[in-house]
Each structure stands twice: as structure tokens, then as C-alpha cells.
Amino acid sequence: MGNDRLALAALVAPAIAFLIAFFVFPLLMMARTGASGPDGLATYLTILVDARYLASLGKTVLLAGTVTLTTLAIAGVAGVFLARHRFPGRRVLTAFLTLPLAFPGVVVGFMVILLAGRQGVVGTIAEALTGERLVFAYSLAGLFVGYLYFSIPRTVLTVMAAAEKLDPALEEGARSLGAGRWRVVRDVVLPGLEGALLAAGAICFATAMGAFGTAFTLATQIDVLPMVIYAEFTVGANIAVAAALSFVLGAITWAVLAIARTAAGANVAAAG
């Protein structure tokens, strides 16, 4: 018994050491750095009442939220469709879908510019149709498109995996009891996918909150939180504020992930 404990401790110890060295320690350092400026701990208060930081925070959360919901809607439908239907080219399409996962944020930003920048495809088509050039690459809309581009693939893959596991008999059972197509989706398919959607949504949200490369490429007018942190850190040399902002960004994202996990857990428990 004692030996088992000892063995267990020996096995767990490296993990704990790793956790402390690379996770807890930097986090504490950062939290402390946030309070190291001229305002001390009040730096945290400042960033929560400062209109510019607050606006940036709101914008970032809104963007991440919208990206998440849009991704879930698109990837949910596409994932179930891909899982359910066998057609020529399905494997190629599925493989192709994972391609954006390989690109760094900078490349995604570059693609958004090619799509909706000043010389972009969308602009050219819009000009031909309406006489006006449509350029949205350098705004939140551009960032939105870029984030969708790399959120959708991984969400589609998660949904596909979950949809393969849905028992078709459940849907047939609901239909035999009189449920129409939409009722089946609402009462059987969505509850069946709930865990996967929550998990994928949480990851999607966290990624959109913290992504930097794309925003940096599209640059200029976009002041999402990672950009503000970067600016404070490099241009303003305002290390305390940058650290405090980072800490808040991390806390919010972590809270959302935790809530999603709890909701998923409660749901899984209820659903068995």
C-alpha cells in the first residue's frame, strides 16, 4: 500500500514540477508584473474602467462570441452532412477541410487581404455588380472572416466524429412517434451533438480571443485585446498594463471554457 503511494507520487511528481515551472510560475509572475506599475494593484482596476481598454475588451468578446456561434452553425450543418452522406470526392473534401489548420495566423490574414482587401476578389466582383468596391479586410469584418476560416475546419471535424456516433435508430424512433424533420433535429440530433458543440465552441472562442497573427497582418484599425496588449508592451513599454490585460484576457477565456465544460458535464450526466 505504502509502496503504491510512493510509486504514484514518483510518477506524478514530474507532471507537478512541469506544471509549476511552466504554468503556475509564469502566471504568478505575470499577475505580479500586472501590479508592479506606478499604480500598483490599482492597474487592474484602471484597465477595467478605462474606456479604451473596456471597449477593446468588449469588442474582442463580441468578435469571439460571434465567430463561435457562426462557426457552430456552419460547421454543425456541414459536419452532420459530411458524416451522413457518402458521395464521390467526400474523402478529398474532408482532407481539404483540414488544410487551414496548417496555416499560421499571418497567412490567414494574408488570404483575407487577397479576398477582401483593396485589390481583393470580393471588391472586384462587387464593383462589377454595383459599381462600388467592397473592402472589409482591414476591419473587424475581415478578422471575423479570417477567424471563421480557421475555426470551421476543426469544428467540422469534431462534429463529424460526434455525428458518426449518433444512433440512427433514435432519429427513426422520434419520426415513428410523429416528429418531423425539424423536431428530430431539435429533440434528437442537437442533444446528441451538444457535448461536441460545447467543446468545439469553447476551443473556438478561446482561439478567437487570443489569436494575434491574423489581427497583426490586417493591422491598423483593429484594436482587439491581443493587439492592445502588443501595443502596450512594445510601443508604450507599459509592461504592467500589458501584463494586467493579459491576465484579464486569460481569466475571461478560462472562465468561458470552465462554464462550457460544466454545462457539458451536467449535460453528459443528464444524458448518460
Binding site: A169, L170, S176, L177, G178, A179, G272
Partner: protein, 342 residues
């Protein structure tokens, strides 16, 4: 609540060209229970899905409920109750939620819905499980919930796909009796899929025996057992002894002696008999040696070697001889009988 069902030339071919069901005619009378019996892969589920509306027959096929053509109606508009082999209970709803689901879809007001759910649960004797999660139920309880859910909407027909297969032997026996009583008292038209011949004979008012996408014979359990029309039906339902020998002078000559064979053309022949049509009889004309004896409780099943080319199965309720003993067999009148065509 009693709806006759008719299938006319209903076949089904899968997308990959596999023909799961040859064009088939079948009618089930109002209030009747039809058992669909056959080996795995013979098309039982396919036939049931065509009746349910979960699959569409190949062009030319036609499904009639009460004389009305329902071929174009999808399952949700046919008012059928289905019980799936896996039960297919909704994991996100409790027992009462499952049973009341069809009523909710039909917009039955909550008060009345609760009353009807309670009635169904009482009928299936699972009242105390109303608020249980479905993953906390035993197999037999799930089966009852699935049945209650299907019956709660007062369907025109009840379709059951191997409802008892997933249960252990004892429970299967018990639920078989309950189900028989239920079907009889509800007088609902029901089709019941099984690959267990005992279940089919016990539960079906009539039995349809299927083989390779075709119905080989439809008839009462008695007919199916005692007057099989094909060799397949004869051997699939119950135990059948096949005897190879030669008919001459009204006698069927076998390696271990002979049996009477009246009305059979002389020459080499393969005749059949059921275990219960043979008996141990010291004055019997066929001798063999006991190869094995299986005690079944109420009777003993004996395997007799040497009497015919292949071992013969005989059953006896008396004290059973031991393996190795030599016994003599006598046959009932009319036995052995010529086999139906293959």
C-alpha cells in the same frame, strides 16, 4: 384501432444494388399478430421498414393500411408504433419523457398527457420508474419503456423488430408471455420480427418464414410446423431428422432397421420426422445406440447413432437411457413423411 395491412409487390433494393427483398405480397388482418421469422440477413427488418415507412419500396410496390395507399406517406405520418431492437430510448429524457414524447408531438395538453403516460406506465407495471433516467434501467425495463412509448400514441399498427433478442433467456420467456397477453388484449395489428422460431410460434397468430429476401410460407404456427411447404421451412422451424434410405414393399429401409412407409414411391428416398414423432419402444423396428443425452428438465433429448446415416434426435419424458445403450425406436402413424420440394 384495428387496421389491416397489405403489401403488394413490395421489393427493396439498396443503393449499391443489393436486393434485400424480392417483390413480396403479404397481408396482415386487422388485430392479427404476424411473426416474421427467418435467418439473419433474410430481409425481415427490410420488410418491417417498408411497412413502417422508414424505407420506400422499389417502384411498383404498394403499401396499404386499411385499404388506403400509404406508400407515399413517410413514417411520421403513418401512425405506427415501433419498437427497435436497441430500444432507441431518448437518453436526454427520463422514462415519463420518453413515453410522453409522441403525445407531446401531437400537442396533447400536459394534464391529459401526464394521465396517459401514467396509464401506460401502469399497464407496463413500471409506474415507479417514471422519473428514472433511461441509462439507469435494466434491459427488461427498457423494453417495457420502449413498448409503452410506442403504444402511448395509440398507433394503428405496432411493429416490433426483435424486441426480445437483447434479453437473457429467463426474462425473454417472461416478457414473451406478457407481450402475448398485451397484443391479445389490445387487439392491435402487429408485425413481430424474430429469428427465434420458438418465439414466432408462441407469439404469432400467423408466421411468415423468410429466406433470402423472399417469404417461403405464411401460415398458422401449426401449419408451419406440421405442414411445411418447403424443405427450408421444415428444417428452420423446429428440429428435423432427415433419413436417407430406400423404400421397398411399404417399408423404409435404413442402416439400423426399417420404419413403415405407406404411400411413398419405391426407390431411394429422403424422408423426415420430428423428434416427438419417434418414441423409444422395445418392440420398435429401428435400432441404434445412444450417442448423447441432454436433460432439458421436463424431457430428455437423445441423439441416436447407427439407426440412420445421420444421427437421429429423439425426445423422451421417461427415464432416459445412458449413452452407449442400444435402444429401439418406433414411429407415429404418418411418419416419416416425404420432404417438401427444396
Amino acid at each position: 384501432m384495428t387496421t389491416p395491412i397489405r403489401l403488394q409487390a413490395c421489393g427493396f433494393t439498396h443503393a449499391d444494388g443489393t436486393c434485400a427483398l424480392q417483390p413480396t405480397d403479404l397481408s396482415v388482418e386487422a388485430g392479427e399478430t404476424l411473426a416474421l421469422l427467418g435467418p439473419s440477413g433474410c430481409g425481415k427488418t427490410t420488410l418491417l421498414r417498408l411497412v413502417a415507412g422508414l424505407a420506400r419500396p422499389d417502384p411498383g410496390g404498394c403499401v396499404l393500411f386499411d385499404g388506403r395507399d400509404v406508400t407515399d406517406l413517410p413514417v411520421e405520418r403513418r401512425n405506427v408504433g415501433m419498437v427497435f431492437q436497441s430500444y432507441a430510448l431518448f437518453p436526454n429524457l427520463d422514462v415519463a419523457g420518453n413515453v410522453g414524447y409522441g403525445l407531446k408531438i401531437r400537442r396533447v395538453p400536459p394534464g391529459e398527457r401526464a394521465a396517459r403516460v401514467a396509464r401506460m406506465l401502469a399497464m407496463m407495471r413500471i409506474q415507479e420508474l417514471a422519473h428514472r433516467r433511461v441509462d439507469q434501467l435494466s434491459g427488461g425495463q427498457k423494453q417495457r419503456v420502449a413498448l409503452a412509448r410506442a403504444l402511448a400514441v395509440e398507433p394503428a399498427v405496432l411493429l416490433l423488430d426483435e424486441p426480445l433478442t437483447a434479453l437473457d433467456a429467463k426474462l425473454r420467456e417472461q416478457l414473451r408471455v406478457e407481450l402475448a397477453g398485451l397484443l391479445r388484449s389490445l387487439r392491435i395489428t402487429a408485425i413481430f420480427v424474430t429469428h427465434d422460431q420458438g418465439e414466432a410460434l408462441a407469439l404469432g397468430d400467423r408466421v411468415a418464414v423468410m429466406r433470402a429476401g423472399r417469404i417461403e410460407q405464411v401460415g398458422s404456427p401449426h401449419e408451419i410446423y406440421h405442414r411445411p411447404r418447403t424443405r427450408f421451412v421444415a428444417s428452420f422451424v423446429g428440429i428435423l431428422n432427415l433419413l436417407e434410405g430406400e423404400v421397398a414393399d411399404g417399408l423404409f429401409r435404413l442402416p439400423g432397421g426399417s420404419l413403415p412407409a405407406s404411400g411413398v414411391a419405391p426407390g431411394p428416398a429422403v424422408l423426415a420426422c420430428r423428434p416427438e414423432q419417434l418414441r423409444l419402444d422395445p418392440s420398435g423396428t429401428l435400432a441404434g445406440r445412444i450417442a448423447a443425452a441432454f436433460f432439458l428438465g421436463d424431457r430428455t433429448r437423445l441423439v441416436v447413432e447407427g439407426a440412420a446415416a445421420q444421427p437421429i434426435v429423439v425426445e423422451t419424458v421417461a427415464a432416459a437411457p445412458r449413452p452407449g445403450e442400444v435402444v429401439r425406436l418406433a414411429a407415429e402413424p404418418g411418419c416419416p413423411w416425404p420432404l417438401p420440394p427444396a
